[in-house]
Symmetry: D2
Subunit: 130 residues, 4 copies
Amino acid sequence: MFKYKIEPRLSETDGLGHINNTVLPVWFEEARKDLFRIFNPSLEVKTWNLILKRFEVEIVNQINHTSPVTIITYIEKIGEKSLIVQQEASQDNIKVASGKTVLIHFDYSTNTASEIPKEIRDRLNKHLVQ
Amino acid sequence: MFKYKIEPRLSETDGLGHINNTVLPVWFEEARKDLFRIFNPSLEVKTWNLILKRFEVEIVNQINHTSPVTIITYIEKIGEKSLIVQQEASQDNIKVASGKTVLIHFDYSTNTASEIPKEIRDRLNKHLVQ
Amino acid sequence: MFKYKIEPRLSETDGLGHINNTVLPVWFEEARKDLFRIFNPSLEVKTWNLILKRFEVEIVNQINHTSPVTIITYIEKIGEKSLIVQQEASQDNIKVASGKTVLIHFDYSTNTASEIPKEIRDRLNKHLVQ
Amino acid sequence: MFKYKIEPRLSETDGLGHINNTVLPVWFEEARKDLFRIFNPSLEVKTWNLILKRFEVEIVNQINHTSPVTIITYIEKIGEKSLIVQQEASQDNIKVASGKTVLIHFDYSTNTASEIPKEIRDRLNKHLVQ
């Protein structure tokens, strides 16, 4: 499991006074940074090898911009060419949102999905929670 | 069905050269503007009466910033206090993404869900696609 | 002079109820699209040939998300390798913000500024306001 | 002087491969958080008492999303009702951008500028760099 701390921004609130729902996918992507490093240690775009297929976000509680948000990231399933990532955001020890993302191991030079190599798979397995 | 045209922004691309996935919920929220007007004609935040519960986004094709994106919005289901909205984004006549959003009719003064009034329900029914 | 219409987004408001100041550079960049087409007709990133050096934004009035914003873009000065762009945003016929941006004609393959070609300069001259 | 660390996001890059220029005002606003706390310790929007009048951003070097950015914030000038804030962003010990922002002490209930109280002024003075 990866743990990541987000400092909410005033610009991420909306007129209703809380964090706008569209910010959650941004935070969840940032919180997947350590997962991305397993696939692409440098994080450089030239060697990027993942593509996002789909995501779901559920808002459980209104989120304020006044205190940090902690995001837990773990892997639900590892397929041949893809993986399912689960994430949970909490603020002041209360769960505020959850997210599920399907990522595909992807070769941008040929625009095709490709098998996840064994050494990456071994590292991913350590973050698999069932 | 509502139809809305988005002009993608250079700032919405990412280092991989296409529109970043986190932009889709922003576009889908913008494209729900006419739906929001059924609930709150002025769009003023003081009279806002919807809260987002969950959303799903599926990316079907890579999206460029160089041509407009058309978003179709319709209603899949109207519940007592909530509704399910379906959206489809296309670019150059090719489907690029779809989205599903659950919205709750909400009273921000009491922080509780409330029944969708009949006159709003009647107007929503015209956009129900089954 | 270029004229561009922006539809403000709910997600662009902040907790104070108006459009957050950080949104202005995003809108101004979007409104420079027709100017960008003079430099790079396809808008493709592979052939992009401008880099932003600096910008200033002044907020003149609070901006709402409930009505469109019109942005006027014109050129204040054309240098050998750079240009200064002026922009004015108005809402409901009231000026709400202004912006000034310095762009450099740039060769990304060598990472150096380069002279603005005569044919681009001729087209730019039509949008020069003194 | 305030020091603040930003973790750049993949979604903040653009198609040219670096952090898009429009992200700088967002980072600078986030990095002013400790300054905001002097004016409004809770950071709650209900008691917010500042409004942004203008800002300038200069990009000194291209910014990557692969390593953290450090932002230094200090005060250049304290007026009767306003202050000028200077900020500098660096990455891997190289200066990448600078920003200058004019903030006005503001009473949102009457929509007018108001004098900066002595106790806030005293605390601001500690961050004045001349």
